[in-house]
């Protein structure tokens, strides 16, 4: 799409300089609303227990699950609480799942003296064939067995199971169902092609110089300083850029200052200071030309627990002069030209990846949409703020574009829901390793990868520096 538009114009690069300059006005953003208010935290108090968030999660999801259960298994299915179960009677129970994993890192086991264990080395996946599933509701819990795949599911999912209680005290599952997609407002019909560029994992301060070339190429393409008039015209159709997390590299989080003696580390600056200065310059170039939304990620200087709060504007003295720069929260929700976007910087998906047998990040993204919860493993294995009133990670309505950043490779898919909902799922790859960004066309809800590879010293072929697939 992007490059086809570019190819339509006549080539003007090798022609003599003309008297009149061609100017391309960027498409104006007709409507933009930031709906991330549920993810903003006001006064924070961490002395609450996490029981409240689980209780509100179950309470909020229960009506959705009961209606889905009735749709799947007939209106006559009995929905009971665990305390009302009779052995042998077939019924449906709604509850929160807990997966007991022997390989899950447990701080209690580590510091327990009787075991004398060394801390476990980090693994990529903590699943084990012996994992057990337990269903909990407000008052009781029961072990699940039967036709339910324990390796795929994770703790914190709210689901409905159909089956019967055995005399052994376990629940034999015949079938299970999730809350599926929330209702969706219809997508608006746009008349021109408008693009939103999704990038994640810029990885500044990482020490490697190759990715900086890619980043600079990206900035140049978006600001229209690269390419022919055709490419510049296409770039003018990019109405917004969303930076989905991990703007700083993992290397900026070095813990040397904690391990070394104070006299050795007194004069050294944190690596993130230099990286933030670089980020400020890049954001200055970008926000001078296009509205930018900056989401924090796992390695960025903001809080660790989800929802991550926006980066502080004092870190970007140059770029905050422009009102087009918006610093937003980590699960980010906005309506751009009538198209609802919802996305995270990838911590939710990578956490589910660690505790589930699902391999593909796009598949995990689709699964979170079907479970109707952005991050079911929070607060169990992913840090989360102790909410007590509502669980803001439950989808109130279905977005049109649902993305997650920092995946190992690009992926995009159109997912259709049971009530004719249509969602574009985008797995935005890590830019510092793949040099690929994603262009979402708001009119057709299609996504296209755009890669900015430069020539490395090892590269034999000159296939880089291309635009489009």
């Amino acid at each position: 799409m992007f490059s086809e538009q570019a190819a339509q114009r006549a080539h003007t690069l090798l022609s003599p300089p003309s008297a009149n300059n061609a100017t391309f006005a960027r498409v104006p953003v007709s409507t933009y609303t930031n709906s991330s208010q549920p993810f903003r935290l006001g006064e924070r108090s961490f002395s609450r227990q996490y029981a409240h968030i689980y209780a509100t999660r179950l309470l909020q999801m229960r009506p959705f699950l009961v209606s889905r259960a009735k749709q799947h298994w007939g209106g006559g299915v009995q929905v009971k609480k665990l305390c009302e179960l009779q052995p042998g009677e077939k019924c449906c129970v709604v509850g929160t799942l807990f997966k007991a994993m022997p390989l899950q890192p447990s701080i209690l086991r580590e510091i327990s003296e009787e075991h004398n264990l060394l801390p476990q080395p980090p693994r990529s996946k903590y699943i084990h064939p012996d994992d057990e599933l337990v269903l909990e509701d407000e008052l009781q819990r029961i072990k699940l067995e039967g036709s339910i795949d324990a390796s795929k599911l994770v703790t914190g999912t709210v689901l409905a199971v159909l089956g019967s209680a055995r005399d052994s005290g376990k629940f034999l599952v015949e079938d299970h169902c999730f809350a599926e997609l929330a209702p969706q407002q219809p997508a608006p019909a746009l008349d021109t092609d408008r693009f939103v560029l999704l990038v994640s994992g810029l990885g500044l301060g990482g020490g490697g110089g190759e990715s900086l070339l890619g980043t600079q190429l990206l900035v140049d393409v978006v600001t229209g300083q690269l390419g022919d008039e055709g490419e510049q015209c296409s770039a003018a159709h990019v109405s917004r850029v969303i930076l989905a997390g991990n703007l700083l590299s993992h290397n900026t989080q070095s813990r040397d200052s904690i391990n070394k003696a104070k006299y050795l580390t007194k004069k050294t600056q944190a690596a993130s200071v230099e990286a933030v200065k670089m980020l400020d310059e890049i954001l200055l170039q970008l926000s001078a030309s296009v509205p930018v939304d900056v989401m924090p990620g796992e390695f960025d200087p903001t809080n660790y627990t989800l929802p991550q709060q926006p980066l502080h504007p004092c870190m970007f003295p140059l770029a905050t002069a422009y009102s087009t720069l918006q610093l937003v929260t980590n699960p980010y929700q906005a309506t751009i030209d009538g198209v609802r976007f919802l996305g995270t910087s990838g911590q939710n998906v990578s956490d589910i990846f660690r505790y589930s047998s699902m391999e593909d990040h796009l598949e995990i993204l689709e699964w979170t949409l079907r479970v109707r919860h952005i991050s079911p493993t929070a607060p169990d294995t992913l840090g989360c703020y102790p909410f007590y009133k509502t669980d803001p990670f439950i989808f109130p309505e279905c977005p049109h574009v649902y993305f997650c950043g920092n995946t190992p490779e690009f992926g995009s898919k159109i997912f259709r829901g049971p009530e004719d909902q249509r969602v574009l799922l985008v797995a935005v790859p890590d830019f510092s390793t793949t040099q690929t960004a994603c262009l979402v066309n708001l009119r057709s809800l299609a996504c296209q990868p755009i890669s900015f590879s430069g020539f490395g010293a090892e590269d034999e072929d000159l296939g880089g520096l291309g635009l489009g697939p």
Binding site: S45, Q49, A51, H52, T56, Y388, K389
Partner: protein, 116 residues
């Protein structure tokens, strides 16, 4: 040395109270539902709030700190949360909480003095 010490000396001495009709020993236990003395208004309200805390339908109510203003979840917060969820908490509880603002015996839950 006085008389021989009995184990029952460690218990407080309670004089048997005369019943309302003047009977002494052998009277029947007071009938169910009839309080020996009417509870004061404050105590009745506190009892209502305690029952609200113990009701599991309205969600967990644990409060994990000694400072009621900064931590945990107060009864009023729990009441509002239950109302938002559509659980229909009793309106009398809210009225009682509003007539005694700032009093930690009313505002904080049953367990607020226990560090949890």
């Amino acid at each position: 040395m006085g008389r021989k010490r009995l184990i029952t000396d460690s218990y407080p001495v309670v004089k048997r109270r005369e019943g309302p009709a003047g009977h002494s020993k052998g009277e029947l236990a007071p009938e169910l539902g009839e309080e020996p003395q009417p509870l004061s208004v404050d105590e009745a309200e506190l009892e209502l709030l305690r029952q609200f805390d113990l009701a599991w339908q309205y969600g967990p109510c644990t409060d994990a700190s000694l400072l009621p203003t900064l931590a945990g979840i107060t009864r009023l917060q729990r009441w509002h949360r239950a109302e938002q969820m559509g659980l229909e908490p009793p309106p009398e509880v809210r009225q009682v909480l509003q007539t005694h603002p700032g009093d930690p015996r009313f505002q904080c839950s049953l367990w607020h003095l226990y560090p949890l």
